[in-house]
């Protein structure tokens, strides 16, 4: 049997465009597997020359799912350029906005994109294995998913004026204070959202046993984990310091200021994908591969400061003695985070100064460089800008959650493919599992494909028998 290549193109139910190629040896066993991101954006280049204060609005256009994350990371980088400390109420309002986005984006990932696999089965009819199939087979769950996503979007709209690409977050704070009417509208809708989050966790945990094989093989390997933690080592989405944890659950490095990320995180480009790969510099690549996002966040923290999520987190951590390693558990972690986000929004809305009209610090550019770091739904998001004397952008670098996860996703694809795919007998369910491991990470490819100053590109010329005739690299 000659060597073969299986291509899954496109990968479905993810944000953006990608394909997977599996390379088989003579016996039909999977030898290599690649997750290729086939789209290219280039935001870092075309923002050069723009005034820094335009960056939050420009950068929000990177994504229609998580524009709020880009707004916030970008505004934080601009705060650093202004060299101001923004009002505490503005911090709280930005945090609520970010948490609203966590809810809507996690609901999208869990209910719309992954629940078809979880509820209808990995081997179910692919024509029905989508949100419309879930609506037919499990209407109450589908209704919950739609309602929860609506709630998250509504929080964003009530705070920031519109659901997608709001302009409310600005360098120095936010543009308008929260009104009492909008605070009360969010609080009034909260009990229903909390009830949905709790019953979703209940049915998910009850059914998890059916996925033992997927849990065992979905990117279930030792890596580092990274994310922000607050001053008490707790769950944090807006501020805090970076922490690296190893697979055994030991803190490798703690207290890293966002502005110092470049000393600890390296980036490299592969010729077969537009997505950059990040790694922990002290260990180099590939030893320094790490994961970010819901699974990583729940692994790295010492606890969370809301009562219901705290209980769920404790139960979640019992899955493993050290860090929870299986990427299948991204789904579980996502649900715990939804619960946390709802509770935290409620806490923050009850803060005595939440309606304070002082929500923005006004200044000119006082620094030539700024870094903004926040937790996006899919993981840690970093925006780094340099400006000239006129405040015009001369250089920008973005590290997006999906880039942090790139190496781990590729390892996961290889692990799943080796376990489920046999080249001489392919089934759709096998290939769906290869896609499903990617879905577990909830990658956002439109967010994560940027320039790092060097575009890795390789063109290969193959003869009809597959022999490589020539190749060219830039």
């Amino acid at each position: 049997m000659p060597r073969q290549r299986i291509v899954i193109d496109p990968v479905t139910r993810i944000e953006g465009h990608a394909k997977i190629s599996l390379h088989l040896d003579e016996q039909g066993r999977v030898e290599e597997a690649y997750f290729h991101v086939t789209q290219f954006r280039g935001f870092e280049k075309f923002c050069e020359g723009r005034p820094f204060y335009e960056m939050p609005s420009l950068m929000a256009r990177i994504c229609g799912i998580c524009p709020v994350s880009h707004l916030i990371a970008s505004a934080k980088a601009c705060d650093a350029i202004l060299a101001v400390r923004i009002p505490e109420t503005a911090v709280r309002l930005r945090t609520i906005l970010n948490l609203g986005q966590i809810v809507q984006s996690h609901a999208l990932s869990f209910f719309y994109l992954s629940s078809p696999d979880l509820l209808l089965g990995m081997d179910s009819d692919p024509a029905q294995r989508n949100i419309f199939g879930v609506i037919e087979a499990h209407p109450e769950i589908a209704k919950d998913g739609i309602r929860l996503r609506q709630f998250g979007q509504q929080v964003i709209e009530w705070l920031a004026g519109k659901r997608i690409h709001p302009a409310w977050v600005a360098p120095g704070g936010v543009n308008e204070p929260l009104t009492a009417a909008n605070r009360d509208r969010i609080l009034a809708a909260m009990p229903e959202a909390l009830a949905i989050a709790r019953r979703t966790l209940d049915w998910f945990k009850t059914g998890m046993e059916r996925f033992r094989e997927e849990i065992r093989t979905f990117a279930n390997s030792p890596t580092l984990f990274m994310g922000l933690v607050n001053g008490k080592g707790g769950l944090e989405f807006y501020d805090g310091k970076l922490r690296f944890l190893d697979a055994g659950g030991h803190v490798v490095q703690d207290g890293i200021a966002g502005a110092d990320y470049a000393a600890h995180i390296g980036e490299l480009a592969h010729p077969w994908t537009y997505l950059k790969t990040s790694f922990y510099k002290p260990l180099g690549y590939p030893e320094g591969v790490y994961r970010v996002g819901p699974l990583a966040r729940l692994n790295i923290i010492d606890g969370c400061d809301t009562p219901l999520a705290s209980q769920e987190w404790a139960e979640f951590r019992e899955l493993d003695r050290g860090a929870v390693l299986s990427s299948f558990h991204y789904h579980y972690a996502r649900l715990v985070e939804i619960l946390y986000a709802l509770e935290k929004i409620e806490q923050l809305l009850h803060a005595p100064d939440i309606l304070d009209p002082n929500v923005r610090a006004i200044a000119s550019a006082n620094q030539s460089e700024g870094v903004g770091v926040a937790e996006a739904p899919r993981g840690t998001l970093m925006h780094h800008y340099k400006v000239d004397r006129d405040g015009l952008i001369v250089w920008a670098n973005l590290i997006i959650a999906t880039g942090h996860n790139n190496a781990a996703m590729n390892r996961g694809v290889l692990q799943v493919a080796r376990h489920f795919v046999q080249g001489n007998k392919l089934t759709e369910g096998m290939l769906n599992r290869v896609e499903a491991v990617i879905r577990a990470f909830d990658p956002c490819l439109s967010c994560s494909t940027h320039a790092d100053g060097h575009l890795a590109l390789e063109v290969a010329l193959h003869a009809h028998d597959g022999a490589l005739l020539d190749s060219l690299k830039n």
Partner: protein, 160 residues
């Protein structure tokens, strides 16, 4: 009708498409124009990039819905107005795409009812990057706005 609570309007207008993709902006442009002209609180008008499952809820609350979109294939500028019925999505490999019929079917499954609905589509000539409509499509803008206003007026008079 007094001040309508969110999504409680009886008529729902959904103009959708990408406003930066040439003629794909047609539905969006019509909805924008309607927002300027139509102020009845019983009428909700949405400009959307795409139609998504969250619309099932408002579609179940409305009595009548009008979808406005650009389409490909016919003579540029050709306009079609047709009644649409709930119809399940069937094979849908791309979950970023939903049809109005599938959303109506979902509304009926999840919430027990779906609005009566019509679809007004105009064939586009150019869907490349840009914010301008091509001449044959732009020439249909006033006609479609008038058609939608006529449909609203007709339906409003039929409402109790």
């Amino acid at each position: 009708m007094g001040s309508a609570p969110p999504f409680m309007s009886r008529i729902l207008i959904i103009g959708y498409g990408n406003p930066l993709r040439g003629d794909d902006a047609f539905g969006w442009r019509v909805a924008e124009r309607l927002l300027e002209l139509e102020h009845d609180p019983a009428v909700d008008i949405l400009c959307l990039h795409q139609i998504v499952p969250e619309l099932m809820d408002p579609l179940s609350r409305a009595d009548f819905a009008i979808f406005i979109d650009a389409c490909a294939g016919d003579e540029p500028g050709a306009m079609v107005e047709r009644r649409i019925e709930p119809q399940s999505a069937g094979a849908a490999p791309f979950t970023h795409h939903a049809t109005p019929e599938a959303l109506l079917a979902g509304a009926r499954t999840l919430y027990g009812r779906a609005a009566e609905a019509v679809m007004i589509s105009v064939a586009g000539a150019d869907f490349s990057l840009g914010s301008e409509l091509s001449p044959p499509v732009a020439s249909r803008l006033d006609e479609v706005v008038t058609t939608v206003l006529r449909l609203i007026a007709t339906r409003c008079t039929l409402l109790p």
